[in-house]
Subunit: 437 residues, 2 copies
């Protein structure tokens, strides 16, 4: 089975855990059997592997997520990264070209396309395999997964099937309706459109070539910024006559808000947290290293991270976006290809951060124009290069770098350091990259 | 007017703002006209000064609070500090001896004794002056302030006056009653006993000498650890026949719990915090430098500090003590005589803290046996002494100290530094003090 996982954009509806550079699919919130936690992305990736050992997974994403994906899945997963955001049709075209031209998959093979963020169980992946087989038969150009509605949701588009068969043709599509209208649709046997479908790889490529002028993956990648923004539904699905839908009646939960996310959590407390016995339906997700104490609350979600603290009635939390948009958006935690950093302290004229480098990784060789920096290595070992001079470093070593001085650190083991930045103007923009000497 | 302000022990009922070493009276939570914030202690001290420019204020407290009191009131306030905790009678005896022997106040002058933590207005201090005058007249040995009950509280003792006169003799005292019983008392004209009284200084000294064997302040101080623990009520008030009570009908709120404290706050948000329009009766007190977002809550207090995060129904918050007792009690923020420190990061084998020194102050000259330290000065200037070698330091300077190395820093201006501690065992106990060379 070939799968394209759509790993979407930044979401603010799960603030303070998600923000401009950290998306909900990377939050480690689901407890594994061994007691550690995994993210939506890791969970779905493992589930695919369990359903089909030989599945070829390609993550379609944006450039900014590449580091986080490699950190969470390792180097094994194929990534098709858009150089810029161009909506779903260009993204799928690029991923299809990647499968064909980079991975060498035949246009006769089928490919399943699905978003990374629904919370699903084993039966879902069995359904995806059935979807892939059905597409390979070629009875229709596109085979959609139609999800049996759990309630008359206003958040999804609806598929009206021709009849109540397990696999049948599509009569028509309906846009996101009112709850009232949704009930009517459901009365007519309508199914949710979760954006999951299968088709032959050749079909995707054919549709792409019809509407975009390119030769192969590399060519499409280079022309990407100039492509028109257009959704796959609008560009392809709505114009296609030959579409089937396959019913799916298993669990399928969209984890886009705290309300739905906490429903999918097996535990009520992740991180340090205590509740008194009068709390009811309270969830605590705490990424800080200080405890949370909750008392006498009902239907409330509490989440704390280096970005901020949310305390919200679960229903009300769906409306957080405008409040989060207005917040100070200084990023206080970020995953990078080489590891991660966390802001510990901000003062006028200085900032203190903790940097964690993965074994074998290094920062860019870079300099700052307007700030000095001091590194104190607190664990691990590696090498620093400062203005071309290389030296071994280990726990306890201190490296001072004046403004203008070029520097990097290469981790041999996992290496952590405290970086104190000092300067009148401290900004992430103040960074000049260089080739290593 | 002579006033002894009783600045009591550590309270956990206002966690995470109060803890073992930081008491509620030092939390800066009340907004002043200039927009800055003041603590209970600072507020009451200013109110006394406004009511009586010449008032002599002595703060009776424990050794551990001296630094915080000096930081908040300056060096001007007299402090009578118990070398160890010995309940209220020994504490008052020591303070009385301080007034007499250190401050030279005549035994014929009256002295008002009151706790530092009720939330009161101007009329209260007018009442204290009247109380002092009444005591000076000598009609009775002790004159208590009887507070008109706002409700049948179970938290206070009650005073039953002989009649309903403004100043009258006390018929009897009643222990903290049930609410039912409290109603009966109030029906009989009972008043709250808030622990506020006045008497001649000589009376306090006489009672002290009757029950403790000492010559003067210095002698009592030295014998303090051997004194019996006994309360002033039990040792003196309950045995005294000549007691008057003066009625007080103004505002008097005990700020011992979040419920009562938030009632006294003029603003609903202190620190970074945002509420949506569906929040009702919500208070946010945030000492962290990340925002709090509250949505859809009712009657809830949210408080965040470097010690932890509280989210509690206001009524329920009164029952927090057992939960707080069970929490990790690592202190993450502390005020010292020389300034303050805050823990920024804790890792296995290292800890990073921010140290703020007040201008003109310095740390003890000290060494650690089992850890190295690195200082990076992030603002201000001063001098360091490291193994006897003195050097000037300013913003950007880095000082490294191996285990065993003796060190201190003397701030010329306010000076802030980041201290990285590195060692297998990091403990506050690992500190050896030395005389400066």
């Amino acid at each position: 089975m070939n799968i394209i996982l759509l790993s979407g954009g930044s979401g603010k509806r799960l603030w303070p855990l998600s923000n401009d550079i950290r998306s909900k699919q990377f939050i480690k919130i689901f407890r594994k059997k061994d007691g550690s936690y995994e993210s939506m992305l890791q969970r779905v990736y493992c589930q695919i592997r369990e359903a089909d050992m030989d599945a070829k997974v390609t993550v379609a994403t944006s450039k900014s997520q590449i580091s986080a994906i490699h950190n969470q899945l390792g180097e094994e997963a194929a990534i098709s990264a858009e150089p810029s955001r161009r909506d779903t049709f260009p993204a799928m075209a690029l991923a299809a070209a990647h499968l064909s031209d980079v991975q060498g998959i035949s246009p006769e093979e089928s490919v399943v396309v699905c978003p990374v963020d629904p919370y699903v169980e084993k039966d879902y992946f069995a359904a995806l395999k059935a979807l892939a087989s059905q597409a390979e038969k070629g009875e229709a150009k596109l085979v959609l997964l139609g999800i049996e509605p759990a309630y008359p949701s206003e958040k999804y588009g609806y598929i009206i099937p021709a009849d109540d068969g397990e696999i049948t043709s599509v009569k028509t599509f309906k846009e996101k309706p009112t709850a009232e209208r949704a009930k009517e649709y459901i009365g007519q046997g309508a199914l949710w459109n979760g954006g999951v479908f299968a088709c032959k790889l050749g079909y995707l490529l054919e549709k792409a070539h019809e509407q975009m002028d390119f030769t192969d993956y590399q060519d499409l990648y280079e022309k990407y910024d100039a492509l028109t923004r257009i959704s796959f539904d609008y560009a392809v699905v709505e114009r296609e006559q030959s579409i089937q839908v396959m019913r799916f009646a298993g669990q399928w939960k969209d984890l886009g808000t705290w309300n739905t996310l906490t429903e999918a959590m097996e535990e009520t407390v992740v991180g340090q947290g205590v509740m008194d016995e009068t709390c009811r339906d309270v969830h605590i997700v705490n990424e800080m290293d200080v405890p949370v104490l909750a008392m006498g609350l009902k239907d409330v979600v509490i989440s704390a991270s280096p970005e901020g603290i949310l305390v919200a009635d679960k229903g009300q939390s769906s409306y957080m976006k405008p409040f989060v948009d207005n917040m100070d958006s200084r990023i206080r935690f970020a995953e990078k290809s080489w590891g991660s950093y966390r802001v510990l302290d901000v003062e006028k004229g200085s900032m203190t951060i903790k940097v964690t480098l993965r074994a074998g990784h290094s920062m860019n060789y870079h300099a700052h124009r307007r700030r000095d920096e001091v590194w104190t290595v607190i664990s691990g070992s590696g090498r620093t290069i400062v203005d071309g001079m290389e030296q071994k470093v280990e726990r306890g070593d201190v490296i001072t770098m004046s403004a203008g001085c070029r520097h990097t650190v290469i981790a041999e083991t996992e290496l952590k350091l405290i970086e104190v930045q000092i300067g009148e103007e401290i900004s992430v923009q103040d960074k000049v990259k260089f080739e290593l000497p």
